[in-house]
Symmetry: C2
Subunit: 233 residues, 2 copies
Amino acid sequence: MGVKERKEREKLQRSQDILEAARRVFESKGFLNTTLQDVAKEAEISVGLIYRYFQSKEDMFASLALKGAEQFDKNLESTLKKSGRKKSSAQAVLTDIAKAFFDFYSPYGEYFDMLLYSYKGLKQVQIQGSTLTRLMSVTLGSLDKLKTFIVESAEFRAKNEDEALQVVFLLWGILLGCHKIFDGSGRGHLFAFSREDFITQVVHQVMVGIAKNESTSQPKEDKRVFFDERPDL
Amino acid sequence: MGVKERKEREKLQRSQDILEAARRVFESKGFLNTTLQDVAKEAEISVGLIYRYFQSKEDMFASLALKGAEQFDKNLESTLKKSGRKKSSAQAVLTDIAKAFFDFYSPYGEYFDMLLYSYKGLKQVQIQGSTLTRLMSVTLGSLDKLKTFIVESAEFRAKNEDEALQVVFLLWGILLGCHKIFDGSGRGHLFAFSREDFITQVVHQVMVGIAKNESTSQPKEDKRVFFDERPDL
DNA sequence: TCAATAAATGAATCGGGTTCAAAAATAAAA
DNA sequence: TTTTATTTTTGAACCCGATTCATTTATTGA
């Protein structure tokens, strides 16, 4: 029964080819300005055939985000594994993570952005789709790996998993925003920094701030720091 | 000639009414899932009439972003003016700015997001539109006000306007990302913080880090801090 | 070689943004 | 007030692009 398997492989390959074609067109014209005609032409197939491989235009979009997320997750995993072996400082690890984040964001950012920005932006139908479910699951997996890293890094002083998760969200937000700004301002040409330097500096000056509670100046009326007291909600 | 003026006023009022109606529908269904039928019904007018007041669906969208940006700019201005009078600490001012940013982002964020995320996402035609031009101009104005603030705050150690602008972008990015995360995780219910506390803590722990170059731990191989040395690009 | 099945096509459908000719309302003129 | 001009408003028609589907073409297994 080698035929079935070959077909399986061919089908996967074809879907990857289409996806890459779509990525190229999206990259040059933007998602909303791209028609399936454009994608079909780039992939050298007919329009209708796209629907044998993807449920919809938005599904292609989500598939691209998924691809990016999977790649990031792999990078994250190897970064954390390496850091475990070498007992690197939290700061060095964070820098590596930030780099992985930037790597993943550059080619796949637009897709992930639109997903993140507003799930509302996607047709409701699609939200049920399995692609989005898998994307969600991969992302949660990455966040969970980060959480474990935070818990195990004494520098962060997270007392429990909940607190660690909050740090993760904060880190994620900072990376997100900084990438957006760096990328948005002409891939950093507004900064006098190369990409590498920018990441190093952000981690050094900003992210590390989270890990350290010994700030030199306390907030005026609110003495709380991240985990010392909780406002009762 | 009071008639002409009254009509002028009525026209403005009507366009505001339509915009608010659109905002309500967008908020509940999302931009892409909203049809102009929906907006027309909510505004209690016919579909065609929308086009007397707005050039396109995307123009309504940009108008909403503009409205938000103008509001933020006003808040920013008064915050900075107040801080000038009271000689508040940079940290206190940043906290106020962050609050203004969050305020503006909550109701108008989606629109601004999509614009920011990728201009490619908007139809090319629209990019020529005057609404987008005005939005750009208001935003640049806000960034400029921030830049002036940074320049004048000794804490930031910006040697010149260029350096100050880089700090502004960094701050902007952090606010952007943190808001996205806070808002995205169920308006903060994943955090054990109220909105107010979250903002205070972000500013306290993260943003203040930018202003302080005396970090306790230097990056391993790269001793540079933000403005002491520049990589030569 | 010949069904049977799968892959591929592109014309038809359909939804929604946009346009437009015509109706309704309002203002100006007589 | 009546008439004419202008402005506002309407909703049906238009058009583009995502999606579907009947049909054709290619592949497989007998």
